[in-house]
């Protein structure tokens, strides 16, 4: 077998990774069709991509990238420094619709030196710059094909886009003129199945070869028991948290936030909502990251103490609040469990289930919520706690200063210390209830090798996938 059918939950709304926030765009296209100057590997490390190498000036303000020679886009045009300048300038332009415009905020200027080298000047040193350039939102696109990129994506990757039957599937074929190691698979089809029942049925009926991000963890034991399938349970960058509106009473009171955190039985949530899949966390940081600090003890399940804390805070009779939930089952099921646990300590959380659009409008933009559950899947995103405008509205000057220092620091050891400090601060401030690191289950047919286990970024990288036998 030289082709593959991979199912993922969500269909990309369009195919422009530089113009939309939807993760599904990256899931399908990242590394397969589009590449950036640097790229993520399966373990989350950042390595060279289209840039063969780079030099960083001593003040840390200028990055000079040397590009691979002989790279062409799928339409046959060459990829050179002009395309890099075009892509970066387009992403940071005034009228840019790039969803991660912040990644480019520090760029002062992009200068073409010769067709294979380009210099990027920053306004301030940024320890994360190479990391930022690995994001799917920073891939290199060409001015020739930019017009129709949303429906006909043309990149430099090992697969070329061929067809998209909206609502059903998207097809890729191998790029035989790929500049790097060519893919083993000749063709790949992505199917989009969000309904958990349909997902189960599709895998069971062997309609798909692999399902990345299988939506129903309760069915995984069945696949594990079935010799036709293999189950890979990997880590994601998704810290799943019970977010609290830090500016809205009573959550502006740290005692209340602590009480909520202690009222939650993480294990029950992981068992009940995720059927055991997921790693408990005590702060907003991925456990598989070397800089992770285990702070679970700060919020061990203790409903008696939670009730005491509430009394101390003046809410002996409890209070009522809202719990607004986006569609994924970790949120919907987790929400029901949390509501029931909170009810046990006297807090009435009224559940409302929202579609993503409404969640973004009401919770994320409108900040009209008491509690919510969401998985923050962006890699290394503890920086959001430095933004008092961010939806949970944590406003701590000390923490903000800490982040400024961190951004300007490039020394790894110092960075580790600073990150540990940051993790401890938010954990002890009980900014949010930290639940678990989202697991990403992949169900694949036996004999399929080379799929990513973890999800350092949203991607179904097929370039290294092979069938055994």
């Amino acid at each position: 077998q030289t082709d593959i059918t991979v199912a993922i939950q969500l269909e990309p709304p369009n195919l422009d990774p530089t113009g939309g926030a939807a993760q599904a765009i990256d899931s399908v296209l990242y590394s397969n069709v589009f590449e950036g100057l640097t790229r993520f590997m399966a373990d989350g490390s950042v390595v060279a991509g289209l840039a063969e190498s780079w030099e960083i000036s001593d003040d840390g303000l200028t990055y000079t990238f040397m590009l691979h020679d002989g790279v062409t886009f799928h339409d046959g045009t060459t990829m050179d420094a002009e395309d890099v300048k075009f892509s970066l300038d387009r992403a940071r332009a005034e009228d840019s619709i790039n969803a991660q415009k912040g990644l480019f905020a520090d760029i002062a200027d992009v200068m073409v030196i010769d067709p294979l080298s380009v210099a990027v000047t920053l306004t301030q040193p940024n320890g994360m710059f190479l990391f930022n350039m690995a994001w799917g939102d920073a891939v290199i696109v060409a001015p020739e094909s930019i017009e129709n990129i949303a429906s006909n994506p043309i990149g430099t990757g090992a697969f070329a886009f061929t067809d998209w039957v909206q609502g059903d599937r998207l097809e890729l074929t191998r790029n035989d003129t790929y500049w790097g190691q060519p893919a083993a698979l000749e063709a790949a089809t992505f199917r989009f199945i969000s309904d958990p029942t349909a997902a189960f049925a599709a895998v069971m009926a062997e309609d798909v070869d692999a399902f990345v991000g299988f939506p129903a963890p309760e069915n995984l034991p069945q696949f594990e028991a079935d010799p036709r399938f293999q189950v890979l349970v990997g880590n994601t960058e998704g810290e799943t948290i019970l977010s609290m509106n830090n500016k809205m009473p009573p959550f502006d009171n740290v005692l209340v936030r602590q009480a909520v955190s202690l009222a939650i039985d993480r294990q029950a949530i992981i068992d009940g909502a995720m059927f055991g899949y997921g790693t408990p966390i005590g702060t907003h940081f991925a456990p598989h990251n070397p800089d992770y600090v285990d702070l679970i003890a700060n919020s061990t399940y203790n409903p008696e103490r939670a009730r005491e804390l509430l009394t101390e805070a003046g809410f002996a009779d409890g209070f009522a609040t809202t719990l607004k939930l986006p569609p994924p089952s970790y949120a919907r099921r987790g929400g029901e469990i949390i509501a029931s646990q909170l009810r046990a300590v006297g807090i009435t959380a009224e559940i409302s289930n929202l579609e993503w659009a409404q969640w973004i409008e009401e919770v994320f933009t409108g900040k009209d919520f008491g509690l919510s559950i969401v998985s923050h899947t962006e890699p290394m995103d503890i920086g959001i706690y430095a933004n008092p405008e961010y939806y949970f509205q944590y406003d701590n000057a000390e923490f903000q200063a800490l982040m400024v220092t961190l951004n300007a620091t490039t020394d790894p050891a110092t960075r580790s210390d600073l990150l540990a400090k940051a993790q401890t601060t938010i954990s002890e401030d009980y900014v949010n209830g930290y639940l678990f690191q989202l697991a990403v289950p992949t169900v694949a047919k036996a004999g399929l090798n080379g799929l990513w286990l973890d999800q350092p970024t949203a991607a179904v990288d097929l370039t290294g996938v092979t069938w055994s036998q």
Partner: protein, 314 residues
Amino acid sequence: MIRYIASRLLSLTLSLIAASIVIFAVIEVIPGDPASFMLGVNARADTLAALREQMGLNDPLPLRYFNWVTGMLTGDFGTSWTYKTPVADLVNDRIWVSLPLAIYALFISTIIAFPAGIIAASRRGGMGDVSIMGATQLGVAIPNFWFAMILVLIFAIKLRWFSAGGFPGWDNPFLALKSLTLPAVALALPQAAILARIMRSSLLDNLGEDYIRTARAKGLTRRQALWRHAVRNALIPVLTIIGLQFSFLLAGGIIIEQIFFLPGLGRLIFQSISARDLIVVESVVMLLVFVVIVVNFAVDLAYAAVDPRLRSRA
């Protein structure tokens, strides 16, 4: 006849205008800003504004309605905000799933319902009647999504006769029909139950009419009187139901399309509603309403073919 058609056409047009106003009014008040939804969590205000401008969300409502309607009249249904492709293309892709599915389901429901209704009516009160009517009672009571779940469990997962869902395209018509079979059955059975009941009661009404007695007095057997005289008269109410069912099947497959992950119109609407892709929602709902109204019109014409009284009244 021409006058009849003309007056029906006039009321058809008025209905379409009324429907378009209702649809536009209803859909424009949906909360949820499509621009911010598309751009997601980290969108910045200026980016949002740029997208809003680009999508024409800043025009006054009447102008937007006018543009929408005139666009539709010229075959331009606008461009999907999320898919970035013309809605007409999206619909064109999806209709080749939903339309065949609806026709297939209607076909199944009709070939089950007609014989069942006729047998039940001709053996009124007998064992056949009682068991068929019992089965239809059950058929009406079973929610089609539950039935679909059970069908998938049995025929796709356990027996693996059919695929659990998805649609391979019409390149291979056999595979395409095969993949539509389970969904069509799930949709058709409750409809067949309803249709069989209507067929039976309509036939019984007609069998009680004087003209059946006249036909019997001519020497027709009970069976001949049923087939030659009662069935055609009984078709009149049945046609209405078939028309209604067709419209229902076209749109009502939403849940079924979801369960079998078929890329049909129903799923398009469902996704578009979640994505606040208003242009798509508006246009597809309008299309469905259009189909319903046109089907009703066609049913009216079919009446005239079956019933000469209507033909000459016109």
